[in-house]
Each structure stands twice: as structure tokens, then as C-alpha cells.
């Protein structure tokens, strides 16, 4: 398994049926990032690692992985917020 990122940690994945970004809440998976369980100590980190392993095994979600809750990498920002561009019909009226 990949090295665990530093605390505080959250567990994220994509939902199986529609691919939406989801976050682990300890009782299940939520599309709301604010509902994510945040592990702030070693015990919580280990619990999340166990949940990650379980998620990989039971396959309820797709490609689960741990991220550092406080980090602000643009990949996670885009993942959370959706495409940074307008698309479809909206993209055709771009102000120049």
C-alpha cells in the first residue's frame, strides 16, 4: 500500500454507480465534503486505513484513497469542485 499521507486525513473515492466524488463519514459515504470524517490523531488515522482496506475489499466504491485534509493541491480542488471551465451550451458564449 502507498505511504499514508500526513494527518489530518480523510478518505475519498468515487461512487460505483455514477462516479461522483464521495467522502467517508464513518457510517457510510457522502457527496458532501463537509460531512467527511477527519482523522486528526494516530488512532483515527489507523481507523481510516482500516476503512480504506475494507473499501478496497468490499468494492462498494471505486478507487478509494486517503488524502491530507488540509492540503490544497489543485487536483483535489478540481476533483471537489468539478471542471474549472464552462462546458456544453454554456461554453459557447465565452466573454472575450
Amino acid at each position: 500500500m502507498a505511504k499514508r499521507p500526513p494527518l489530518p486525513l480523510i478518505l475519498t473515492a468515487n461512487a460505483l454507480l455514477d462516479g461522483d466524488v464521495v467522502y467517508f463519514t464513518r457510517t457510510g459515504w457522502s457527496r458532501d465534503r463537509a460531512a467527511a470524517f477527519v482523522a486528526t490523531d494516530e488512532a483515527g488515522g489507523e481507523a481510516l486505513e482500516a476503512s480504506l482496506e475494507e473499501a478496497i475489499q468490499d468494492g462498494e466504491v471505486v478507487e478509494p484513497y486517503l488524502i491530507e485534509a488540509g492540503q490544497d493541491h489543485y487536483r483535489e480542488r478540481i476533483r471537489l469542485g468539478g471542471p474549472t471551465i464552462r462546458y456544453g451550451a454554456e461554453a459557447l458564449n465565452v466573454p472575450l
Binding site: L17, G59, I78, T84, L92
Partner: protein, 557 residues
């Protein structure tokens, strides 16, 4: 266009049913995610950053009006009202649900389309010259060959789990518009001294982390031996291609590591062992497929059109006619490219409304046929010159009349990190900003032919290595960073771009492109010399100041 017979039809329908069951077995737990991933990819279904993505095959880029209308329906019913045409002449939907994918496949099968092998480590959708059947320099239409290869490679029981993906392109013309030099196998239809047609076979080209140009493994392969020869190449690759490192698994690395001579010897040995196995099809089958690509019922027309000449008095129409038309081998006809690169919009996207408009126009003006180009535009291949004024007016009304084909705003871009899970940086916003920067049509015309290609990661879906100007987006310590290359060329004089210097931030890219263009305009020979020709003449050095801070660049100039 090729039409399915009962066998093609049954196979595609069975594949839909099979995929439906594969989805059900993933949901019920019979298949692990790892097992299912392999199977869904073989049917073009990816998981991206925010959603699944379904890639639909458009074999050799040929599409009927009816098929395009069905794609529009799928975009509306199962996606968000648009689709993205790719650099491999396919279309991608960015927002389908896993549970809807089987129903989408059913709708595709209704119009003789599928997603077979649009991803996965198998033989991918076969691409061909988008001006097939149009270009005057064509020895033969490449599409019957491409269709034969499509059939032979579909659900191949030996070659569906290769070390890595495998891409084949075919051209029948003297000028290579299918970029055969950067494919795993490139086929060029040629004539030998006896006047027989056959294939010049290139192997081991490709982009990605280690870009390489294909090498000729057979200068003339008799056409009757095509499939068994392909089978021999694939067999050597399947057995010996590296599986220890994803980035060294393409056939180009095997050819490179063995050397062309040793690789060729192995292929010829397997080819000899395959003799008499009846892998190849007979001449009647070749003729059966070719008959579907017979020319449409052209009218006898004069080579020039008074209506067309008259319309050119409108400068906007004249501009469009200069950039978006390609000479047709039949007098009185032309091939018209519809640009999917409006200023500031995501390259290659089309809304469902636009798809329906293009389908209608294809029916009215182009024998119901369309082509998808690897430059992410749409071609109406057989348009009467007399019809151009009416067709252009309809395109203007639909917002599809951008006159920028082959120019600096006709940018190729992969989806990048706005969608793609593999991306290391965004591509589309870079394309949009460059496009806006060069929005002035007169200036764009002055700059002339210049292809910018942008990839959001080293896998090079945006073909940045062969862009006249290539842009590669990377993640540099948590910040998007863009490397610029110059001098790449996808065509006959295939060349890989050279790095201009260290990477720069995204917001500096338009300015850097601006300076590269200024340097080019100062250096070019007369008014007519294209960027790539200037680059070939002067090399990389004069362009290096483009990356320096503006003051330093001015001082150096």
C-alpha cells in the same frame, strides 16, 4: 459507408448483452473492481475525476448523419448535452452513469456503432486519413483496409490482453494526414513496380513518455497478406513486449530494444509459421467491403462555380473559403471542414444542437456523410461548390462558421485535468486563453499555418510532441507547469518537437506563445513561409528568448 451484415450486427448486439452482464456482476460482487476495470476499459468506459467517461468508436472517423443524430440523442438523454471529439477520431461523453452504459450501448448498436476496444490494452479503433475518398493524391481509399483491420481486430481471442494499447492508422495518399509515423503500426497503401497495390508497413512509432517515429518493416507487403502479417507482428509483441513497466510496454520500446533487424527477423519467423493458416480473407471479401465505400452519385459539374465566385465578394465568406475548404478530386466539389474551435471554447466539443445541425447539413449537402478529424474538427466530405453560399449561411446561423482551420486557434487539446484522472495539469483553459489572445482574424491569417497541440500529461493524448508548437502540462511541486516544444510535425516529414527551455506557469503561456509568434514573423522568409518551414530553416536558438522575462527578451531582440 460500411453497413453491418447480420454477423457484424449479431456480434455487436452480443457484446452489448455481455457488457450489461459484466456491469451486473460488478454490482453484485462477482467481479472485483480490479477485474471489472479491465473489462469496462475494453468497452471504452473510464472512471475520470468526477464521473465515468464513455468513449464511442467512430471507425476511421467516418460517420453518417443518422449516427451523429443518435450521438446527439445520447448526449441529451444520458449526458449533459454535449460530446467531445478526440484526437483519435472518436467521441467521448463525460458524464454517463455506470448503470446507464448498457442502455447507451444499445442505442449505439441501433445505428451500427459501439465502444469495442476504445480503451484497454488491445488493438484500438483504427484511424485513417479524414480526406479518404476525397484527396486527389490518393492511390486508394484507405477505409476498406481500415474496416478489414477493424473486423479482424475486434474481440481477437489472442490479442485482447496485450502489454499495452495498440494503435493502427492507414493512409492511401502521398501526403500523410493520418500521422502513420506515430502509430504502433502505420500502413500506407503503395503501388509496386508491377503496378500492384500493397502496403508499406511502419512499426514502432508512438508518442507518450518516449516519443519515437515508426520504422519501415516492410516496404511492400502484398495486400492479400495483410492480416497474417499483422498477426505475426502482434504475436511477437504479445509474447515479448515488456510487462514490467507501463511506460516501457509499447511496441516502440520492444522494436527499439531489440533493434529493427532482430525484431523484423522474429516477425518474419512467426509470419512464415502462419503461412497457410487462412487468416487472410479472399479477394471477394476485400471487394465486398470496398463496395461499401464506392463513390457517391456525383453530378457532372464544371470545375468552377459562378455562385461560389460571386459569394467570395463577401470578405467573411472569402476568408472561410480560404481556410476551411480542401480540394476534391471530383470537379465542382469540395470538402468542407467545420471548425469545432470557436474562439475561447473547449477544443473539439460539440453540443447536441450542433450535432443535429451538422447532421442536417450533411444530409442536405454531403450525401449524409461526415468525417471526424484527428485535429478534432468535422468534415463534410462531398460538397458542391454551388452549394457553398447556402451551406456557409447555415453554418453562420448555427455558430459553426469559424474560419480558422489549420491556423493558430485551431488548437488540439486533450481534456486535461478538468476531466481526466491521469492528467497532471489542465489543458483546456490554456487552449482557451491562447485562442482568445489570437482572436483577431486578420492577424491569425497573417500568421498562417500553425498547429498548437496541448497535452495535460506525458501520455500525450494532445499529440504535443508533433505540434508545431507543443505544450505539455505537468505538476511541479503542486503547481501547474507547462513545457513548450517547437518544430514538431505529424505529417510526411514527421518530427518531434524540441524543448524550448524550462517550464513556465499557465498564466505565462499565452505571452510566451505571443513572443514565439513575433520572433517567427520577424524571421520568416517573405510573407508566405509557414512557421514549420521557418523553424526548420533557423532552428530552435532564435526562439529561446521567448521564455525570458520580457525586458530581457526585448534587450536581446
Amino acid at each position: 459507408m460500411y453497413r453491418y451484415d447480420e454477423f457484424d450486427e449479431r456480434l455487436v448486439r452480443e457484446r452489448v448483452a455481455q457488457f450489461r452482464e459484466q456491469v451486473a456482476r460488478r454490482i453484485d460482487g462477482s467481479l472485483t473492481e480490479e477485474e471489472f476495470t479491465l473489462l469496462r476499459l475494453m468497452n471504452g468506459l473510464y472512471l475520470q475525476l468526477h464521473a465515468y467517461m464513455l468513449r464511442v468508436a467512430i471507425p476511421y472517423g467516418t460517420l453518417s448523419a443518422r449516427q451523429l443524430r443518435q450521438l446527439a440523442l445520447i448526449a441529451d438523454r444520458y449526458d449533459r448535452g454535449y460530446g467531445h471529439f478526440t484526437t483519435r477520431q472518436n467521441i467521448q461523453f463525460n458524464w454517463p452513469r455506470l448503470s446507464d452504459a448498457p442502455d447507451i450501448l444499445e442505442l449505439l448498436a441501433d445505428v451500427e456503432m459501439h465502444c469495442i476496444q476504445t480503451s484497454g490494452n488491445c488493438i484500438r479503433n483504427v484511424t485513417a486519413d479524414h480526406f479518404a475518398g476525397v484527396a486527389a493524391d490518393e492511390i486508394e481509399d484507405p477505409r476498406p483496409t481500415a474496416e478489414l483491420v477493424r473486423q479482424w481486430s475486434s474481440l481477437h481471442p489472442e490479442f485482447s490482453f496485450l502489454p499495452r494499447k495498440f494503435k493502427i492508422a492507414v493512409t492511401g495518399s502521398a501526403e500523410d494526414r493520418a500521422a502513420i509515423g506515430v502509430h504502433d503500426i502505420g500502413l500506407r497503401i503503395v503501388r509496386n513496380e508491377a503496378g500492384e497495390t500493397g502496403y508499406s508497413v511502419l512499426v514502432g512509432g508512438g508518442l507518450g513518455r518516449t516519443p519515437m517515429i515508426g520504422k519501415t518493416i516492410r516496404a511492400f507487403l502484398p495486400r492479400a497478406e495483410l492480416l497474417s502479417y499483422l498477426e505475426a507482428i502482434l504475436r511477437v509483441y504479445n509474447l515479448e513486449g515488456r510487462r514490467d513497466n507501463k511506460y516501457k510496454a509499447r511496441i516502440k520500446i520492444l522494436v527499439h530494444e531489440l533493434g529493427l533487424e532482430a525484431f523484423t527477423a522474429r516477425v518474419e519467423e512467426e509470419f512464415a509459421a502462419l503461412a497457410g493458416r487462412e487468416i487472410d480473407v479472399d479477394a471477394e471479401e476485400v471487394a465486398r467491403i470496398a463496395a461499401y465505400f464506392a463513390p457517391p452519385a456525383y453530378e457532372d459539374l464544371p470545375a468552377t462555380s459562378a455562385a461560389f465566385e460571386e459569394a467570395k465578394r463577401d470578405p467573411d465568406f472569402a476568408r472561410f473559403a480560404r481556410t476551411n475548404l480542401f480540394p476534391h478530386k471530383i470537379p465542382g466539389y469540395t470538402a468542407l471542414t467545420i471548425s469545432l474551435k470557436p474562439i475561447g471554447a473547449p477544443p473539439g466539443d460539440a453540443t447536441s444542437d450542433q450535432m443535429r445541425v451538422m447532421a442536417d447539413l450533411a444530409e442536405r449537402f454531403s450525401f449524409s456523410e461526415l468525417r471526424v478529424t484527428h485535429v478534432q474538427n468535422i468534415v463534410l466530405p462531398h460538397v458542391r461548390l454551388d452549394d457553398l453560399p447556402a451551406l456557409w449561411a447555415a453554418l453562420v446561423e448555427a455558430g459553426l462558421a469559424d474560419a480558422n482551420v489549420g491556423l493558430i486557434t485551431d488548437i488540439i487539446s486533450c481534456p486535461g485535468m478538468d476531466y481526466c484522472k491521469l492528467a497532471t495539469a489542465r489543458s483546456i483553459p490554456i487552449a482557451q486563453e491562447i485562442s482568445k489572445r489570437f482572436a483577431d482574424a486578420d492577424r491569425e491569417a497573417l500568421i498562417g499555418k500553425l498547429g498548437i497541440k496541448i497535452s495535460g500529461c506525458i501520455n500525450a493524448c494532445g499529440h504535443h510532441h508533433v505540434g508545431h508548437i507543443g505544450i505539455l502540462g505537468l505538476d511541479k511541486a503542486g503547481v501547474e507547469n507547462y513545457q513548450i516544444t517547437l518544430g514538431g510535425d505529424p505529417g510526411d516529414r514527421t518530427a518531434l518537437g524540441e524543448r524550448l527551455g524550462p517550464g513556465i506557469d499557465g498564466d505565462q503561456v499565452p505571452e510566451a506563445i505571443e513572443r514565439i509568434v513575433e520572433i517567427y514573423l520577424n524571421l520568416r522568409d517573405g510573407d508566405g513561409e509557414d512557421f514549420i518551414d521557418t523553424f526548420r530553416r533557423v532552428g530552435l536558438d532564435p526562439f529561446k528568448v521567448a521564455l525570458q522575462p520580457k525586458e530581457a527578451a526585448l534587450a536581446a531582440a
